[in-house]
Amino acid sequence: MVYALIGILIGVLIGFLLPFTYNSAYTLYVSVAILACMDSIFGGIRANLEGKFDATIFVSGFIGNAILAAFLAYIGDRLGVPLYYAAIFTFGNRLFDNFAKIRRIITSKKKN
């Protein structure tokens, strides 16, 4: 949990300091991709707490999910159907799911 938070804080700092911007037309895709990435990170934290963290699965999920989510948003834009709802729903759902499991693991550890 803590290392992920520190990582995000460092990333935000770097992001604000770097003069890195992109076309504002891609904001929708990037925001959906961010959601997918956050889901992957929560999944990674949970796997780490459960002791079965696999870097391959984590990295491939992180990149693959982000690309798939952005692609869905893009396709939805082309077709005129907001397909990115699917990504938002799935990853949002899993985000809370993962967070619930993390909470349970942490509280059970503290009890022990």
Binding site: I8, T27, S40, D54, S60, F62
Partner: protein, 252 residues
């Protein structure tokens, strides 16, 4: 794809031996960078683009384009008028004749000119069949409301000039019941009423004879006589009275 990644000689099987906390931390930093760059863009709201919104925008653009076209035509019109006035300085057509043309045009539009053209003539009379009278004898009589509704139907059909028994009906004309007669422009008119209207004869005819119109209801239900005829040439007299505003003033 996963097996490919695993067999990769640079990552190899020691991928699993990466420090999980470090890996997660590094990728969290990546998310943070993306997040910060997104925040930096300062976007108020990302609204989804739906087919509906696209169509709405398209309609809006279309109407704006037609408006622009109209305005362009308007500009052209005004410019023509301007050149006409400017040319009148050094040509045989002087400013007075230009202004007179203008006045004539405005008088025609206002209804102070006798006009002629194709249209319809409608003869209206009260229910003459005494045994068809219903409980209320008022039902068989033409009222001011009936007249106004029929005039309105004619205007909807594009009537350009209307008169009742030779009395020109203008925007300020009053139509009022006065016992057995109807007062138009303050003058009493008796039955039969002859409404003349200049416009597209087919459209005007339809507006007083088609099923569902007010005139059809009057004839079918109340037995009031309405006989429309199309005419190739009708003459509608000018408004004969004098009219001037005493309260309304132009806004400066």
């Amino acid at each position: 794809m996963l097996s490919l990644l695993k067999k990769n000689k640079w990552w190899g099987d020691n991928m699993k031996e990466f420090n999980p906390k470090l890996t997660i931390g590094i990728f969290s930093a990546l998310v943070g960078i993306l997040f910060a760059s997104q925040v930096k863009m300062n976007i108020q709201m990302v609204t989804p683009v739906t087919i509906n919104s696209i169509q709405r925008l398209e309609l809006e653009i279309k109407s704006l384009r037609t408006e622009v076209e109209d305005l362009k035509l308007n500009i052209e019109d005004k410019q023509n008028y301007l050149t006409l006035i400017e040319d009148s300085n050094h040509s045989e057509k002087n400013i007075i004749s230009v202004l007179e043309d203008e006045r004539d045009k405005n008088m025609l539009l206002a209804g102070f000119k006798t006009v002629e053209g194709p249209g319809v003539e409608i003869v209206m009379f009260d229910n003459i069949n005494s045994d068809e009278l219903s409980f209320d004898f008022n039902d068989g009589i033409i009222h001011d409301v009936d007249m106004q509704n029929i005039l309105n139907d004619l205007r909807v059909a594009g009537a350009e000039a209307i008169s009742i028994n030779g009395e020109r009906v203008l925007s300020f004309s009053d139509i009022k019941c006065a016992g057995p007669v109807i007062r138009v422009n303050g003058r009493s008119l008796g039955t039969p009423f002859i409404i003349t209207a200049i416009g597209d004869p087919k459209l005007l005819m339809a507006s007083v004879s088609a099923p569902g119109t007010y005139a059809e209801m009057l004839t079918k239900v109340y037995g009031i006589g309405i006989q429309p005829y199309t005419k190739d040439k009708l003459v509608i007299p000018a408004y004969s009275g004098d009219f001037s505003y005493s309260y309304a003033k132009t806004v400066q």
